[in-house]
Amino acid sequence: MKSRRTSLWHRLGSINLTIVLCIVLTMDLIWGYFCLERKTPIFTPLNDMGLWAWSKTYGLYNLQHTGWFFLLLVLLTAFSLNTFVCTTNRVQQLFASRRGGGQWLGKLAPHVMHYALIVILLGYLCSYLFTDVLTGRTLVPGSSLSLPDTGGTVSLLAYEPDYYHGKRLAFFDDAVITARFRLQLDDGNSQREAVLSCTRPVRFQGYSLHLKNFAPKKKGGMNRKTRVDLSIRKDPGVGIYLVGMGLFSLGLLLYFFDWVMIREKHSS
């Protein structure tokens, strides 16, 4: 029994499996590229519905366009397992053969980065499975919305866009190049202001508020009423992939440490 387990463990960590998985992943992603390009609306709801609900509806009913995605999940699971087993084997060997001094720490760098990638993938999986998303929330100046299960309300105070006034791109003249929305966040006890823009979500009461769409996008012309469409998310995966990124950065630091050690060794 034990030998069977050991054998399975070694097979899972095989470099040949890694190569095969990489090839199949590449093929699958090429297939996915064409599906995504031609049938984007099928995949857009995945961001707010979550993986489970999406799989039961859009995924299941469009298998000819979503099959690659389910295969991708299987392949990424296999790839993560393979990476975990392979990395753990190497780390074990490294620990077993370590000698005095901290030099062996540098050799840990690639393994730390491999573990980090697994943690990042887990974070994404967690996001797609457990994120609570409030879609289609629109604010106009003076209006407000409440965040469920919290006492928090968000109000739109003002729209403060930056317009393009350069000479080189006449087509973009008077177009909004930075859309900034000043929000008031009220948690029931205190109020504060925050600025929301395309690359700057606002965090409040465990939720993150993202700018999805807005109007108007240009000065003059057909003046549309001021509004901001929000995507409001409570995403437990963020913490996990931040840990993964931290781990990845640690791996990079160890690489740097290793590089410095090798340089010093050569120079001495």
Binding site: N16, D28, T44, Y58, Q64, T66, V74, G136, K225
Partner: protein, 382 residues
């Protein structure tokens, strides 16, 4: 071992490809009576209809909001905000867009359900609406850009169909559910044809919607058959230049797809995005250099009476090929309110692109612009 592994993985891929190739006609169905044959989930472009149970249907509107449709006598669901619950069949509806209203007409619910519009009476060509506004059954609730909320409240709508998401916070305050019927990207041909199936569950008119879709589908088959032997592919552009902006229909819009389907070349095939998308003047003029047919957005009552009139309004386009040697078509005023005759409109566009395939066809929704406006009678007599 290696061989087994490789074979296993390749088999997995093949299996996935094979299953992916099979269309899911046998996917789960709802279980009750007539509904048994209807798929539980239907995607219509960016819209979706999900029949959870006989007493609960969830729809996803153009803004990605989920609305829960429950029978009028069913208890209020507790798992969603009340302003996202719609009692069906809806009996009082306010609609913004001509397209939405034409779809209501196609479903046969226009006269009974429509109680408010955002276009004044003198701009309507749909007899039911003109009649309804005369009798006071249908109210003008103000222009779309300046809704009269007092009047809107008075008409007591159970649902508002709108293209303007900025109205939603105010409707939420009034506790009126709303569905956004436009999407960030233009509706493709399939979505345009199937949109009726998105509105159908609001009125329990699924059978009518299926019949409407079948009619349009058969019109498309006819177009394919008639134009299949066409030897010449005309180059088509659809849009207009306004004072400061150039707007066109992108390649992903239904008109772009229809042009391609009718053995023609759409000049803005590479443009992707929302319906009536803004492009540069240069791009428009470049496409106009070798286009054969130009569909303008302007109708004759908006000044599109002749090629010369268009050139006067927009001197920039006076040299594009359709204005010099080709053909220019303008929509007639009732065109935008005639989406319930989508099959006729598709056939007419096909007849314009390939007149040889439709001998003696008489235009009903578009008019071909003459080179110059006819001279007034007085001048002629002089």
């Amino acid at each position: 071992m290696k061989k087994t592994l490789v074979i296993g993985l390749v088999a997995c891929c093949l299996l996935a490809l094979l299953t992916a190739g099979c269309r899911q006609e046998n996917t789960p169905k709802t279980a009750s009576g007539d509904e048994a044959e209807r798929p539980a989930f239907l995607q219509i472009g960016e819209f979706a209809v999900h029949r959870i149970s006989p007493t609960r249907t969830e729809v996803r509107d153009g803004a990605g909001r989920t609305l829960v449709l429950v029978p009028r006598d069913a208890p209020m669901p507790t798992d969603c905000p009340p302003n996202q619950v719609v009692r069906v069949p809806v009996q009082r509806i306010v609609a913004y867009g001509f397209f939405d209203i034409a779809v209501l007409r196609a479903l046969g619910v226009l006269e009974d359900s429509l109680v408010g519009v955002t276009t004044p009476k003198n701009r309507w060509y749909i007899p039911e609406i003109v009649r309804g506004m005369q009798t006071g059954k249908i109210s003008y609730v103000g222009d779309a850009a300046a809704i009269d909320y007092e009047r809107l409240k008075q008409v007591e709508p159970e649902l508002v169909l709108t293209w303007d998401p900025s109205i939603i916070p105010l409707l939420d305050d009034l506790k009126i559910p709303a569905a956004v019927t436009t999407t960030p990207t233009a509706m493709c041909l399939n979505a345009r044809m199937r949109f009726v199936q998105f509105l159908a569950p609001f009125f329990h008119k699924e059978k009518e919607a299926d019949a409407f879709f079948a009619r349009i589908d058969s019109a498309l088959s006819e177009i394919r058959a008639r134009t299949a032997a066409a030897t010449y592919e005309p180059k088509v552009m659809w849009g207009d230049i306004y004072e400061k902006r150039v707007m066109v229909e992108p390649g992903n819009a239904w008109v772009g797809e229809l042009v391609g389907l009718a053995q023609s070349a759409y000049q803005f095939k590479d443009v992707f995005g929302t319906s009536c998308i803004e492009i540069t003047v240069e791009r428009f003029l470049y496409s106009g250099k070798d286009a054969d047919i130009f569909f303008t957005y302007r109708s004759p009552d908006m000044g599109a009476t002749s090629k010369a009139a268009l050139a006067r309004m927009n001197p920039l386009i006076k040299d594009i090929k359709p204005l010099r040697h080709g053909k220019v078509y303008a929509p007639l005023p009732h065109y935008s309110q005639s989406a319930d005759k989508l099959d006729d409109i598709l056939l007419e566009i096909s007849a314009i692109l390939h007149p040889e395939a439709y001998p003696n066809y008489r235009l009903r929704y578009f008019t071909e612009l003459p080179d110059a406006d006819p001279q007034p009678q007085e001048e002629k007599s002089l």
